[in-house]
């Protein structure tokens, strides 16, 4: 069975696979197609549907030169799908610029997984993803990426969450590149909620910036930014986070923790809270530290080598940054935690 078939099988309900600019596979379960779910190249969607054209670059600042070479997903109203809808992008030569648009219509509840990867000849990946959740829609957006060291990665995600909608984003990299910039921003309407969470282990001598912003634009909206980041030898990690309250009765929380496994690594967390109207509640906690010797020796006295004990503690540290993931993703995330913890100790 080819890796593509395996992905199709794992994807369960729908799969979109693009290598460089070629769409290799586009599969949608018949039952979903009949109910109006659309998964197609964005270029096709823009050509066929004027409402999609009008949406473009509303959730993100327009990037000149980025063409609609990516995926378009539309989930019609009232659809609840437990199994993941999967996007997969691979850059195997030169540069890849991707623009995706996801629209989840009223009251739908879906899980979208995004698997992005590169080969050694993939020089750069630039991904722009716009997400629109209409009233009462729920989206779990799980991004699991794996990059070769040589690939430069830029990812921007803009999200608009409609009234009473709910957006949960989980971002992690199994293999992190030497240079990565990621920027996620979510705008929340009345009573909408969002959780932007990141688990990241920076590779040696890498430079990484992961920004997360939530704008509480609607009354009673609530947002949380959650980050757990580990820096190893020579790595520099920046985690700017921001919550901006523009409506009364809104609430936001930032929880950002960094773990330095090497004295020559560098972590910067800069949580920023802006309250532009009275009646909102904003809090943050940020911490950067190293593994304590007491914890290390406790585990060593139970029979673990120093590397095993460190790996267990890194895993435990990352695990506290996981919240709101659907049950169906838990086995994968468990495996991811083990991989990241092993990587962290080399």
């Amino acid at each position: 069975m080819s890796i593509i078939d395996e992905l199709a099988r794992a994807g369960g309900t729908a799969l979109y696979l693009q290598r460089n600019y070629d769409v290799l596979r586009r599969v949608v379960a018949d039952s979903l197609r009949r109910r109006g779910l659309i998964l197609e190249p964005l270029s096709e969607a823009v050509e066929k549907r004027s409402w999609v054209r009008k949406l473009l670059w509303r959730a993100l600042p327009k990037e000149e030169g980025v063409k609609p070479y990516g995926a378009f997903l539309y989930v019609p109203p009232g659809l609840r799908i437990q199994a993941p809808l999967t996007f997969c992008f691979v850059v195997s030569e030169a540069e890849q610029l991707v623009h995706n648009v996801i629209v989840i219509d009223e009251g739908s509840d879906v899980l979208v997984t995004s698997a992005c990867a590169s080969t050694k000849r993939g020089e750069a990946h630039e991904g722009y993803t716009e997400v629109y959740l209409r009233r009462g829609a729920r989206l779990n957006y799980v991004m699991i990426h794996s990059w070769m060291r040589e690939t430069r990665v830029t990812a921007k995600t803009g999200v608009e969450v409609g009234e009473e909608g709910s957006f949960t984003q989980f971002y992690t990299c199994l293999k992190s590149p030497s240079s990565l910039t990621s920027d996620s921003r979510a705008l929340l309407r009345q009573e909408a909620t969002a959780l932007l969470s990141t688990l990241y282990v920076a590779s040696p001598s890498s430079s990484t910036t992961i920004s997360s912003t939530i704008i509480l634009a609607g009354e009673g909206s609530g947002g949380e930014v959650l980050a757990r980041a580990v820096a190893v030898k020579g790595a520099t990690l920046r985690l700017p986070t921001r919550i901006e309250a523009r409506a009364p009765g809104s609430r936001g929380h930032i929880e950002c923790r960094g773990l330095q496994l090497s004295p020559d690594s560098r972590i910067e967390t800069t949580p920023a809270l802006y309250s532009l109207r009275g009646g909102s509640q904003l809090t943050h906690e940020a911490a950067i530290g190293k593994i304590s010797e007491e914890e290390l020796y406790y585990l060593m006295s139970r029979g673990f080598t120093e590397e095993e004990a460190t790996s267990l503690l890194v895993r435990g540290f990352l695990e506290t940054g996981i919240r709101g993931l659907p049950e169906v993703m838990k086995p994968q995330v468990d495996a991811i935690l083990s991989i990241l913890a092993r990587k962290a100790v080399g």
Binding site: S292, E293, E294, E295, Y297, Y298, L299, M300, S301, R302, G303, F304, T305, E306, A309, L312, L313, R315, G316, F317, E319, T320
Partner: protein, 240 residues
């Protein structure tokens, strides 16, 4: 050859001798109780046997199955068959369920080995974070059982907890002994001993030295009558 042999052991912490010339032998499967007041060096002695950094043996030697432990790191000592239940510890950044899984993998033990110790509500929590005193003691004993030790070092499993927790601690210690472990049990009061099926020998440690050895009931009576300081001055009367 005894399983554990301490010969004239002196242990220093931050440059100060806390344990001063302890001699002790524990044979396979034996349960020894070590009594003593706060600060007498009991916990320090256990940590030195376990090889925790900062608890340096500056004189004498500790032998386990005839091997001098001097050059063995804590994880190597654990693999040799020494396990420790700590009196108190700061939170450890691992969930209890993960640690149980990893210990079962490492030692070929099973979660069934620790059934009945009342850990169900704690499994998804970070180890010792927000645990009550009784919960921490139960967890420490359970983790020690999962290591299938030849020698279990138990540091005050009965201090600062309610009677029900002491009963469960007794149950866990009996389980260790049933499975063939030798036990060196540190206690202030000896109260946990009421729940043990057997105690082979007891010792009283005062000011870094073992000042009396014998049967536990006799030593407890002596402590009640003379106090630890009295025992340190005059030793225990012969047990009739």
């Amino acid at each position: 050859m005894a399983l554990l042999e301490l010969r004239n052991v002196h242990v220093a912490v931050a440059g100060r001798r806390v344990v001063r010339g302890v001699n002790l032998e524990v044979d396979r499967g034996e349960l020894h109780v070590l009594l003593g007041p706060n600060g007498s060096g009991k916990s320090t002695l256990l940590k030195a046997i376990m090889g925790i950094p900062g608890y340096s043996v500056v004189e004498g030697e500790i032998r386990f199955e005839g091997r001098d432990l001097r050059d063995f790191k804590p994880h190597e000592r654990a693999k040799m068959g020494i396990a420790m239940a700590y009196q108190s510890t700061r939170p450890i950044g691992v969930t209890l369920s993960r640690l149980i899984r990893e210990l079962c993998r490492l030692y070929g033990s099973s979660p069934a080995d620790i059934s009945g110790l009342g850990l169900e509500g704690l499994l998804d929590r970070e180890l010792h974070r927000g645990f009550s005193g009784g919960e921490s003691k139960r967890v420490e004993l359970a983790l020690t059982i999962l290591q299938r030790p030849k020698l279990a070092l138990l540091d005050e499993p009965d201090s600062g907890v309610d009677l029900e927790s002491i009963r469960v601690a007794g149950k866990a210690i009996n389980r260790l002994v049933e499975r063939g472990a030798a036990v060196l049990l540190v206690t202030h009061t000896g109260i946990v001993a009421e729940y043990l099926r057997r105690v082979d020998e007891a010792h009283v440690m005062v000011d870094g030295k073992i000042v009396a050895s014998g049967e536990l009931p006799h030593l407890l009576r002596e402590v009640r009558v003379k106090g630890y300081s009295g025992l340190a001055r005059g030793g225990a009367n012969e047990h009739n």
